[in-house]
């Protein structure tokens, strides 16, 4: 199972308390994880990536295994530890505002 950590506002929106666990068939990439996430929680569509372009929203970033994966290709395989479920994919909202 793949583990995904959502920002607090998206946990509230998806009505989950904790990490989300997803079953992914095939290669584990940003795209396949987000596809599975949005299939299970349709209310998250458009909140992490744009509906049409599928681009990551500017104030969100993706981290895993202490690496910033935000600018990686969405089709590049995620780290093995994420694919094995040992480490989560972190979706982080920018700390902005002040």
């Amino acid at each position: 199972m793949i583990r995904v950590v959502l920002p607090a506002h998206l946990r509230t929106l998806a009505r989950v308390q904790d990490d989300v666990e997803l079953e992914i068939q095939g290669v584990v990439t940003q795209r396949t994880v987000l596809d599975a996430l949005e299939a299970r929680f349709p209310m998250l569509r458009g909140t992490i990536r744009d509906h049409l372009t599928q681009q990551r929203r500017p104030f969100l970033r993706f981290f895993a295994c202490e690496e910033d994966l935000s600018h990686e290709s969405p089709d590049r395989p995620l780290p093995e530890a994420v694919a094995r479920g040992e480490e989560p994919l972190l979706i982080i909202g920018a700390i902005a505002g002040g």
Partner: protein, 371 residues
């Protein structure tokens, strides 16, 4: 027993305020969608339990929420707003061409007769409609496509379609307003549109009497007088007696005619309300004294209403969708401030009372009169 329900959108969530017909004691429920900007909430005239809310965030984009129980519980519906065809360009602040980009929904206008049909005014300016209760949204692209879209320009708050008025006597006729393009009207339910800005004079644009380019802040209409429109422009309070074909200035004796809100008494079509703001560079009341102005003559002659409002040291703003009237007798008038206060008058503006003092900055206020 009659009552009223105020739907308050703020910078950090939504609040629902309820009272009985006396409108003296209020119960505040919320925040709903805590931490999110709620640009607008509105109830269906056909089913007052059906509410819609525009929920937005710089991080997570746009959501639309729907309630079927008067705001006690909510469910997200579709949030996919895609411009019809090639979106094209409009003018940017510096006059260069800028691609049309969806940012947020400013105003939701449920149908007068069908709870599942709602119009949505968005930034960058366009009009969308759902006919399935928010499960899907389609653009009424005749508005952007009517020819002048490439000359529209954003106001300081963005290029927003913020006002939508459906003519109760003729639902094919809809009025909308865009900052900073102006007002527009359709007479065929949104297929075709015409700019209705004749008589507006905006000295800060290259052609002060241009067909489009005026920074209209809000428009209002009494449903019983569908041909008569009132407008708070950037500067100038305006009136049209011919459904927007031409406008005349009715600022009269107002101490300043800059402002954002304007509304019409529910039972007296010639009684209108504005909240004068000092200027476009100082968005707060003159002399730190918050005052509503009322005209009972349809404009030009205005009286100051300040009983119960702050007399000094008040430096808040009242944004364009943050005033509403109920239809009780006497007419209730409500407005919210950027300082988080909600002021209510149960006597058509003669006296005011703060019914909430410390909410987040208020973006919008709507009222439902419940029987």
């Amino acid at each position: 027993m009659s009552g009223v329900r105020l739907l308050v959108g703020t910078r950090k969530g939504a609040f629902v305020l309820t009272s009985d017909g006396k409108r003296d004691r209020w119960e505040i429920n919320g925040p709903h969608f805590a931490g999110w900007e709620i640009y607008h909430m509105k109830g269906s005239p056909a089913d007052p339990s059906r509410l819609y809310a525009s929920q937005t965030s710089g991080w997570f984009g746009q959501l639309i929420q729907r309630s079927q129980d008067g705001g006690k519980s909510w469910e997200p519906v579709d949030n996919k707003f895609v411009y019809d065809g090639v979106a094209g360009t409009h003018q940017w602040y510096d006059g260069t061409a800028h691609p049309w980009e969806f940012k947020r929904v400013w105003h939701l206008e449920p149908s007068l007769t069908d709870p599942d049909t709602v119009l949505a005014g968005v930034e960058d300016a366009a009009l969308f409609r759902t006919t399935d209760g928010g499960k899907s949204w389609q653009e009424l692209s005749g508005l952007r496509g009517h020819g002048s879209g490439s000359r529209w320009q954003p106001g300081a708050g963005g290029m927003c379609l913020h006002s939508i008025i459906v003519d109760q006597s003729n639902p094919e006729r809809i009025f909308i307003a865009i900052s900073a393009a102006g007002a527009f009207r359709t007479d065929d339910a949104g297929k075709s549109w015409k700019p209705i800005n004749k008589g507006l004079y905006s000295k800060y644009i290259p052609d002060p009497t241009a067909e489009v380019g005026h920074c209209v802040h809000h428009i209002a209409m009494n449903p019983a007088r569908p041909g008569v429109l009132f407008m708070q422009k950037h500067w100038d309070v305006m009136r049209s007696d011919n459904a927007g074909d031409s406008w005349e200035k009715i600022s009269g004796n107002l101490p300043t005619d800059f402002g954002f809100v304007i509304d019409v008494h529910a039972h007296e079509p010639e009684t209108i309300y504005v909240v004068p703001i000092k200027s476009d560079s100082e968005h707060f009341p003159l002399d730190g004294k918050l005052r509503v102005y009322r005209s009972r003559q349809g404009g030009n002659e205005w009286e100051e209403l300040s009983k119960g409002l702050p007399e000094r040291d008040c430096y808040v703003n009242v944004l364009r969708d943050a005033m509403a009237v109920d239809s009780l007798d006497k007419c209730g008038v409500y407005f919210g401030t950027t300082g988080g206060q909600i002021y209510a008058s149960a006597d058509a503006g003669d006296t005011w009372k703060a019914v909430a003092r410390d909410l987040p900055g208020v973006l919008s206020v709507e009222v439902q009169t419940l029987s």
